[in-house]
């Protein structure tokens, strides 16, 4: 057993995960910025053994993960491991589908939801929430457009209106 303590490889010793960490670990479809790093539990350091066993980009280890499920994951519960694999594939599929059809092709959200539901052969209502969430994640993690209009100077005296 190696009890060595190292800087958290996920948050790089900050104790929280920011947009740069998400981009570095290529988890744009999975995480959003947060005040608490789940990998080191906000402690900024982790045991070498833990970091050696789990990758810093392990998408399943997140702050909102159920404690019971996390324990089962640590114990390598087969059901949980299978669930993780299928969920990861599902998230990648939805993320890439939205990137291709909504962002690149410029199809409206409703059209994307309808075609995705057709493709997955499920009801539109069952997928809407997932698509909404993924679009928000793509907007903050990938497109990341910041409006500079907040500091717009409007000179009323010279305004033609």
């Amino acid at each position: 057993m190696n009890n060595k303590i190292i800087d958290c490889p996920r948050c790089l010793g900050k104790g929280f995960v920011n947009n740069e960490d998400i981009k570095r670990l290529r988890r744009e479809f999975f995480w959003i910025e947060g005040p608490h790093c789940a990998f080191c539990d906000g402690k900024k350091h982790v045991k070498y053994d833990f970091a050696n066993r789990f990758n810093a980009d392990d998408w399943y280890i997140t702050s909102d993960l159920d404690k019971d499920k996390f324990k089962r994951y640590l114990n390598e519960d087969e059901e949980i491991l299978n669930e993780i694999i299928s969920t990861e594939q599902y998230i990648y599929f939805i993320g890439n589908y939205i990137m291709k059809h909504h962002v690149s092709r410029g199809l409206s959200k409703e059209k994307v939801i309808a075609s995705l539901a057709r493709e997955l052969q499920i009801e539109i209502a069952d997928i809407r929430e997932n698509v909404d969430g993924m679009i928000e994640q793509i907007k903050t993690n990938i497109l990341n457009v910041k409006s500079s209009v907040k500091d717009l100077d409007i000179n009323i005296e010279n305004s033609p209106f």
Binding site: M99, K100, H102, V103, S104, R105, G106, L107, S108, K109, E110, K111, I135, K139, I142, L143, V145, S147, S148, V149, L152
Partner: protein, 190 residues
């Protein structure tokens, strides 16, 4: 002496080209196909309609792809370059889309944003007279690069409207600032 000879040779070549100017459609189409063959990128050729279709990544991280088409338009006597910005927008946004496109069309020197309200599509095209690439083949590359660079800004603007649901007026203000910044940067580099 050699320079003069080369100059005369070029003049004769151009004179011969001008004499067979009626062949410009087929000649430009051949040049366009040659240009794409040499470019090494993936593309599709539509022989009967005389257009080439390809996709390019328009952001630095290669995450956003747009469909580009290059068309020898016999009727309009133009070589056209076109990018599909939206292939099916939300019809509720049509008013803001028309406002933004009209702003952009006023601001652009070259290039035209077309909004098809029936099919809910947005495209931006640029065209040059077929005579230009017929006489100067390199102009095909110039058109493609110019159109591609312009489309990056236009797509950026429309993404803010279609994805971020921002007001067209604010988008235009930001776009003008962005273009100013780019121009200042280029001027400093020069």
């Amino acid at each position: 002496m050699i320079k003069i000879f080369q100059g005369v040779k070029e003049d004769i070549k151009k004179y011969q080209q001008l004499r067979s100017v009626h062949n410009r459609v087929s000649e430009v189409w051949l040049s366009l196909k040659r240009y794409y063959e040499q470019s090494g990128c993936n593309y599709g050729t539509y022989e009967s309609m005389k257009f080439i279709e390809t996709t390019y990544a328009i952001n630095e991280k290669h995450q956003i792809y747009k469909k580009f088409q290059y068309h020898v338009d016999e009727k309009a006597d133009l070589l056209k370059s076109l990018v599909w910005i939206s292939e099916g927008f939300d019809s509720d946004k049509v008013k803001n889309i028309l406002i933004l496109s009209s702003h952009l069309n006023t601001l652009m020197n070259a290039g035209l944003v077309r909004v098809d309200t029936k099919n809910c599509t947005i495209s931006m095209e640029m065209g040059i007279s077929l005579l230009v690439p017929y006489l100067y083949e390199d102009e095909i590359h110039t058109l493609c690069v110019k159109h591609f660079n312009l489309s990056k800004d236009i797509v950026w603007a429309f993404n803010r409207l279609l994805i971020f649901d921002e007001d067209p007026v604010f988008i235009i203000v930001d776009l003008m600032r962005k273009v100013d910044k780019q121009q200042n940067k280029t001027q400093k580099q020069n």
